[in-house]
């Protein structure tokens, strides 16, 4: 039997009709996954919030998204007056096209035969496949930013600005994270990264060797965590959906979009989510390879079965995306940028160095002087890190009183800044009663109680107000 796992040499030899079938299949996969993904998300969130979710159109409400899409086609296509005509039109197309193109290098399965043609179950694979993914997801920033800018309206502009800074920040983190994947796999092609996770490396702990599964989620756990967080940031999903934060920016960059242009933005958002799930599956969860209990069966990694494992893993990752949305509140923008620039990037850089050092020490048979060199280098890095470690200095903020004093004359009057809630009338009455009771219990108590009761009986509103 021929080897089922495709290598780079297996790509680029398909006949034209196989290419067309695969391209169409990938496109349909993207669109259908969007239709089902929206439904899945709404049902899941409904389930988590103890309500039914969409359940009218079709069985279990499965056709809800399709109905929504059809409805959108019959809605008025508006373009606000101050908008830029051409850019406003192109922006949603950029988003959707970039999101769909990313599906070209996702490995869905091993070599199968389609109408007698043996071909890998992947549209194509190139030596720089992961770079293609990163590039395409980077280009889709343009859709969001230009869409926000071209609307000629304040909310979309703010959303587009946020998106620009957010997506480029998390792209850096993503790029640094995949570096460690390349280090272990020795390749940037997605099919070879999947193949590299098939081997079971032997781990020796205290003399006993055991074969661990080669999934990078285990071997590269820090990378997985960093990559997953930045993937959520890159796809503008909650808790990082600041470009479209409903409670702050109405709908962010897509506020002014209607009709199918809006649908294109929605489509691209969900395809992004599907692609992100598929990339996480490919890079860290061994792609289409069967998980452990199933992989005991020999046929699990052959034929069309791997498509099932792949879909299962993708749906699992998508479920985590939805779960995050249902669980976590949205971050503030400064918190979000701090997480990206001050936590994730130093972590990713440090992890690259740590992994590189460990691998070098393992791989190369080091002589004495080389060991000294290596130790010296690590010590130098540590020294520099300590030397330059940002000082934890509390920025001196002016107190509220100082801020009030610094206001120019003629400013608006301010409410009290001490934020003390005045006690309720009831509490005040109770306190007054207690105080008089403490001062002179014997004669004051009936004298105080009587007028209060009398007032409450005759004029309750007056008592409420000034009591």
């Amino acid at each position: 039997m021929l080897s089922q796992a495709p290598t780079l040499a297996d790509f680029g030899h398909d006949t034209w009709w196989v290419i067309i079938i695969k391209v169409l299949a990938a496109f349909v996969f993207g669109v259908v996954m969007t239709l089902l993904g929206v439904w899945f998300e709404r049902r899941m969130i409904g389930w988590m919030q103890v309500r039914p979710g969409p359940n009218r159109a079709g069985p279990f409400g499965l056709l809800q998204t399709l109905a929504d899409g059809l409805k959108m086609a019959f809605k008025e296509d508006l373009r606000p007056r101050g908008s830029d005509r051409l850019v406003f039109l192109i922006a949603p197309c950029i988003s959707a096209v970039c999101a769909l193109t990313a599906l070209a290098v996702i490995p869905f399965g091993p070599i199968v035969s389609i109408f007698g043609e043996r071909t890998p179950l992947q549209v194509t694979d190139v030596p720089v496949a992961v770079l293609v993914l990163l590039a395409v997801s980077a280009l889709s920033v343009y859709g969001v930013v230009l869409g926000g800018w071209a609307s000629g309206s304040p909310y979309p502009l703010l959303g587009g600005l946020r998106a620009s800074a957010q997506m480029i920040s998390y792209e850096v983190t993503m790029g640094l994270a995949v570096v460690t994947v390349f280090m272990l796999a020795g390749s940037m092609s997605t099919s070879e990264i999947v193949a590299a996770q098939a081997s079971n490396p032997e781990l020796s702990i205290g003399g006993a060797t055991l074969a661990v599964p080669g999934w990078y989620v285990l071997l590269l756990l820090p990378t997985f965590v960093i990559f997953a967080i930045s993937a959520v940031g890159e796809t503008n999903r909650l808790p990082f959906d600041l470009p479209e934060a409903e409670s702050e920016l109405v709908a962010g960059f897509m506020t002014e979009y209607s009709s199918l242009k809006f649908a294109l933005f929605m489509l691209s958002e969900y395809i992004h989510m599907v692609v992100a799930s598929a990339v996480i599956t490919t890079l860290f969860l061994a792609g289409w390879r069967a998980p452990w209990p199933v992989s005991v069966w020999d046929g699990a990694n052959q034929g069309w079965w791997p498509l099932l494992w792949f879909m299962g893993k993708v749906v699992l990752v998508m479920f985590v995306f939805v779960w995050l949305r249902a669980t976590l509140p949205r971050l503030r923008y400064d918190q979000f940028m701090r997480l990206g620039w001050k936590v994730l990037i130093p972590l990713a850089l440090g992890w690259v160095l740590v992994l590189g050092g460990t691998r070098v020490a393992q791989v190369s048979d080091l002589s004495r002087s080389e060991q000294l060199w290596l130790g010296g280098a690590v010590a130098a890095v540590l020294l520099l890190a300590v030397l330059f470690w940002p000082a934890r200095r509390q920025p001196s903020r002016p107190s509220p009183a100082e801020q009030v004093a610094a206001r120019p004359p003629g400013s608006f009057p301010l409410p009290p800044l001490d934020l003390q809630v005045p006690p309720s009338p009831q509490a005040r009455r109770a306190v007054a009663a207690k105080r008089t009771a403490a001062s002179g219990r014997s004669e004051a108590e009936p004298a105080v109680k009587r007028p209060l009761e009398g007032r409450a009986g005759t004029d309750p509103e007056g008592g409420e107000q000034d009591g």
Partner: protein, 121 residues
Amino acid sequence: MELSAYVPIIGLFGLAVGFAVVSLVAARIAGPRRANRAKLEPYECGIEPTPQPVGGGRVPVRFYLTAMMFIIFDIEVVFLIPWAVAFDQLALGGFLAVTLFIVAVTIAYVYEWRRGGLEWD
């Protein structure tokens, strides 16, 4: 590896472009046209829209700082990726070179951090 492996990417790209164009045209054909002055105004929760400066006006300088940091780090990633792919061949020499490189970039990074370039408030 021939360039023929890139053809399907272009194919999918073309299909996606076609899909986007068809949806735009379909919306144009199927949708009604009953625009009025209020509908065409930029949405600002119902108040009279504030006049917008041409080209979006001024933007806080933090965004430019972030963009500059992005370029620095993206170049770093660009240099790290080939090293990572050829990691086993380059072995110790490559690792030491990359360590020096990362330290050099980190100095710029720490400088910006200390000068408050990463603060958003």
